[in-house]
């Protein structure tokens, strides 16, 4: 903790969990979309998010984050209108996601190029978030570190190949957190790798070239 955790952050009100945290959840999706053109989003709100989103501007905050704005951007207030201007369709659905944290949102996105994906995460207090699912697979990260998501086929040696590449090519690179989840044995799997500091420029393309890896995405600090 430092003095700016107390005097700060600078944020758009009214609520750190229902507004600032919601923007940060939206920003995770913005990183997943990675400059591709967004056509439509379908946002499911669960628990307290579903009950009180209008009074806290949670809907605007999530959309603003998806469009790349920060928790301190004054544009949050006008996010619904900005999305319309940009031709982004949006729908909000209230649904109880079973077993989820009270402030949970699930965001499905559909791109102009036909691509789509989803993210589920929770705003856990004080503007902090926890991402639980990407494309239906379990992950576990809070966006405070640079995070690398590697989707791959569940085969022996894939994790070793990725971490060895990270170690042998970039000796200074340190993994601070590692999480693996898979849909079934031998099926699709996802690694969540959090690292200290900045990732080297060529790391992500290099990981993508590894056998059985289908994709690697970098989610920069939210």
């Amino acid at each position: 903790m430092n003095v700016f955790d107390i005097i700060g952050p600078v944020m758009i009100g009214p609520s750190s969990s229902h507004t600032a945290g919601a923007v940060r959840l939206g920003r995770v999706v913005n990183k997943l979309i990675d400059r591709r053109t967004l056509k439509r989003v379908e946002i499911t709100l669960s628990g307290s998010f579903a009950q009180t989103y209008k009074g806290h501007g949670t809907d605007r905050a999530l959309l603003a984050g998806i469009m790349g704005y920060h928790s301190y951007s004054p544009e949050i207030r006008d996010a619904l209108a900005i999305a319309k201007d940009r031709g982004i369709e949006y729908t909000f659905i209230k649904e109880d996601i079973k077993g989820a944290h009270p402030n949970t949102a699930r965001i499905r996105y559909f791109l102009e190029d036909g691509g789509e994906g989803s993210m589920q995460g929770a705003s856990v207090g004080g503007g902090n978030i926890l991402v639980n699912q990407i494309d239906g697979m379990n992950v576990n990260f809070n966006g405070e570190n640079n995070t690398i998501l590697v989707t791959h086929q569940d085969k022996p040696g894939v994790i070793a190949a990725v971490t060895q590449l990270m170690h042998w090519e970039y000796a200074d690179l340190n993994i601070s957190n590692f999480h693996l989840s898979r849909q079934s044995k031998g099926g699709e799997a996802i690694m969540t790798i959090e690292i200290d500091g900045q990732p080297p420029e060529n790391l992500i393309p290099a990981i993508r070239k590894i056998q059985y890896v289908s994709n690697a995405i970098l989610i920069r600090r939210i």
Partner: protein
């Protein structure tokens, strides 16, 4: 390096080195965060400028919250202060009250604020500091420095008690903000580090047990007006300490008491909108007005 585990640690370290708490904390934080003191000072200066803008935004006539339940309080109080020569509280205090209302209202209308320490209690510190800056001619450098003192007290409160309404009730949000502001005010007025601690203790003691009971779960009723009581208590606590009236219970013990009181509070009174004012007939009616029947 400081641990920020007790107010007494801050007071003793400042006394030993013969510096103000703000100077001590700025140097310590620069070392801990591995940046220069100038960088940290400038970062805090930005926070202060956001506070000044939030006062301005919240004093506009048409300011309205997202839910429509509140709005225009900062404007009304400012007008009253001008037209009635400050009313009962006097011009300085009435204007300070209008600023606290303005910033809390700015937050409720999705304006930009500095959480200090939280969004719900964001009007107290700017209400105090912007008033000293605009109405009493304090220079900006001293004001910005005093925010390091407020921040240091807040860090100890967060570690030793809580700054979250969901965890400790409103005493942890508006109570903490008020105690932080009281310490900053004492330093600005030339008080000693020990007097800063006394002011903090008095402010905490005066808000012990305050529950977090937001109507409809929104940061509006009673949050916006509680920023006013937090501000007034900050000023009175600072004046008491500066007058040489000591806190009979030391600040750290007040914080420990705040923690146990927070733990003893039932969940209904900790930001769940199930007790207190949220559970009154009018509170329930307002909730339905905003969100419809089902909740």
């Amino acid at each position: 390096m400081l641990k920020y585990e007790s107010i007494d640690e801050l007071v003793r370290a400042a006394e030993t080195r013969g510096v103000r708490i703000s100077e001590l904390v700025l140097a310590d934080q620069a070392e801990a965060m591995e940046v220069t003191e100038m960088e940290l000072y400038e970062k805090m200066e930005i926070d202060f400028s956001v506070m000044v803008s939030a006062v301005e935004a919240g004093q506009k006539k048409n300011q309205k919250s997202m839910s429509g339940l509140t709005g225009g309080e900062g404007y009304k109080m400012k007008k009253y202060a001008e037209q009635r020569d400050g009313g009962l509280c006097g011009p300085f205090m009435a204007r300070a009250i209008s600023r606290a209302l303005a910033v809390a209202g700015c937050n409720a209308s999705m304006g930009r604020i500095v959480a200090a320490p939280t969004a719900g209690s964001c009007g107290i510190l700017p209400g105090c500091l912007v008033s000293l800056w605009e109405d009493q001619g304090f220079n900006q450098k001293d004001i910005v420095m005093s925010m390091f003192t407020a921040g240091a007290f807040g860090m100890v409160i967060a570690k030793r008690a809580s700054i979250s309404g969901a965890q400790g009730g409103c005493q942890a949000e508006c109570g903490s903000a008020s105690a932080m502001a009281a310490a900053a005010l004492v330093e600005l007025m030339g008080g000693t580090p020990r007097q800063c601690a006394d002011a903090c203790a008095i402010a905490i003691a005066n808000q012990l047990g305050l529950v977090c009971d937001p109507v409809a779960g929104l940061v509006e009723i009673p949050c916006i007006k509680r920023n006013v009581s937090g501000l007034v208590i900050a000023f009175s606590s600072a004046d008491l300490a500066l007058a040489g009236i000591e806190a009979k219970i030391p600040a750290d013990e007040c914080l420990d008491a705040m923690r146990s009181v927070g733990d003893a509070l039932p969940g209904a009174l900790k930001e769940t909108a199930k007790g207190g004012l949220a559970d009154t007939p009018t509170g329930q009616r307002l909730q339905k007005q905003v969100f419809g029947e089902k909740k």
